[in-house]
């Protein structure tokens, strides 16, 4: 039985492409409402974790649970129902080139044959959430890299999934745009109670996700606060991958004190 407190759980999951071992008996879980930040260098299998959780690829061994269901042996048809609970934000946005921003965001609802009058308010609300209402009629090739990813986030959030997977959403972006993306992730974590896996290799993202939180004041305004010395965020945890293994799992404070040479090198290099 899966642990009922876990939104996502990996048990001893292994995957190899030919002789190339991507994941070697990896186990971890994401509790409900928790954000798990997955770090590691390129080619360490970070994105593969997300693709496994979404059932896009199947593991060679081990078990994967999503929302208490074991999805390891699910067929493509069975996965369709599981995927409704999950929103996935792809690295470059992965917007459909031939569709406008509106149609991209409306895609999931159109596929579910929702009537147009129900689709429009949802699309507008989602685009407002990512602050891109003005781009509603644009085509993806007219958008900047950051805007494409924000549309990707809006598209992933249609249907209010309780689990969101982010595949390096800030890679290659300038610091300000990257921060905007992280703030969206904070809003989802703190205000919508979304569980998530956030794959990144940028230390700046880690700083924001580990030490800031969002609250809504009495007037409905959003305030971004720092955790400070008196409180500590417990809804964000970190794991570090290297050569297909988890070499660290814990809070950011623990990570900063870890002695593992790879973690030290990673933290120092990124700084």
């Amino acid at each position: 039985m899966a642990n009922s407190t876990s939104a996502i759980e990996f048990r001893e999951v292994s995957l190899a492409f030919g002789d190339n071992v991507i994941l070697d008996r990896v186990s971890f879980s994401v509790r409900y409402g928790e954000s798990k930040v997955v770090m590691g260098g390129s080619g360490t299998g970070k994105s593969t974790l997300l693709r496994l959780a979404l059932g896009l690829i199947k593991p060679d061994a081990g078990q994967i649970f999503v929302d208490g269901e074991e999805i390891t042996a699910y067929t493509e048809e069975q996965m369709m129902n599981v995927r409704r609970k999950i929103g996935m934000v792809f690295q470059e946005g992965a917007l459909f080139d031939s569709l406008s921003v509106y149609d991209n965001v409306a895609y999931r609802l159109r596929e579910q044959k929702a009537p147009e009058k129900e689709i429009e308010p949802v699309v507008t609300r989602m685009l407002r959430f990512v602050d891109l209402e003005d781009a509603i009629d644009k085509m993806p090739n007219e958008l900047s890299g950051g805007m494409r990813r924000r549309v990707g986030i809006a598209r992933a959030l249609v249907g209010s999934p309780k689990i969101v997977l982010y595949d390096e959403p800030t890679a290659g972006l300038d610091p300000i745009t990257a921060r905007t993306i992280c703030e969206l992730a904070l809003k989802l974590r703190d205000l919508e109670d979304v569980s998530s896996i956030f794959v990144t290799h940028r230390l700046q993202d880690i700083e924001v996700l580990a030490s800031e939180y969002v609250v809504r004041d009495d007037f409905g305004n959003l305030l971004f606060e720092h955790e400070g010395d008196t409180m500590c965020l417990i809804n964000t945890k970190f794991i570090m991958l290297k050569d297909g293994n988890i070499i660290f799992s814990g809070s950011d404070e623990e990570m900063r004190q870890a002695n593992h040479p790879y973690i030290r090198k990673f933290l120092d290099k990124e700084r």
Partner: protein, 254 residues
Amino acid sequence: MNLIIRGIVQTQEITLLIWRVLRGIFRPPFYLREIIRQMDISGFGSLTIILLTGFFTGAVLALNTGSTLQKFGVQSVAGQLVALSLIRELGPVLTCLMLAGRVGSGIAAELGSMLVSEQIDAMRALGTDPIKKLVNPRIIALVTMAPALTIICDMVGTLGGLLTAITFQGQAASVYLSSAKEAVSFDEALGGLIKPTVFGFIIAIIGCYKGLSTTGGTVGVGRSTTQAVVVSSILIIAVDFLLQKLIMTLLLEP
């Protein structure tokens, strides 16, 4: 990987893709709008090149055979020769080779670039089966449009032959046309339509397979596109031989 093993693996994967297509093609959801869009792109979009190809093929066929026929004093069968060659062989093969170059390559390039930019994964993540949404409409479009374009190619080719016969060989239009009409029996026409239907399926399935099995980023997309054209062209010509034998046995021989 060994060339033979790679061949076997690819054949297996194509068979699996065909199986998934056949299993899903009669089950909802049906993407009617997408089917019509693909028909427009592959059918109407290819009309110009098919018209040009057909016309000049018919014209040059009449030109080449004209002098030989004259030598034997049977110039009056020029129409029959052109029409029969077009219906049996040149119409289906040329139309479908053109479609492989124009549409098959386009399918491989489009699906390949969608794959490398993670759009196919995004589609699956959003609850759509890419086989139903992307592959099936393209197959339906080509299976229906290839025979339709072949008919047009046959007609225009016969017309091209007629113009050559009238202009360069001084033949009467009525002689040419009545001779051409003689060539067209129901069985000939049926045989000439079975071929492009099969070829259309080959072009679509190879284009989709090559596109969806793209690896290696944008360079890979280029490679897939080339391979789609090469493989489907070779298959068209090889399958043409087998089909012709089959059609002759079943339809044309008494």
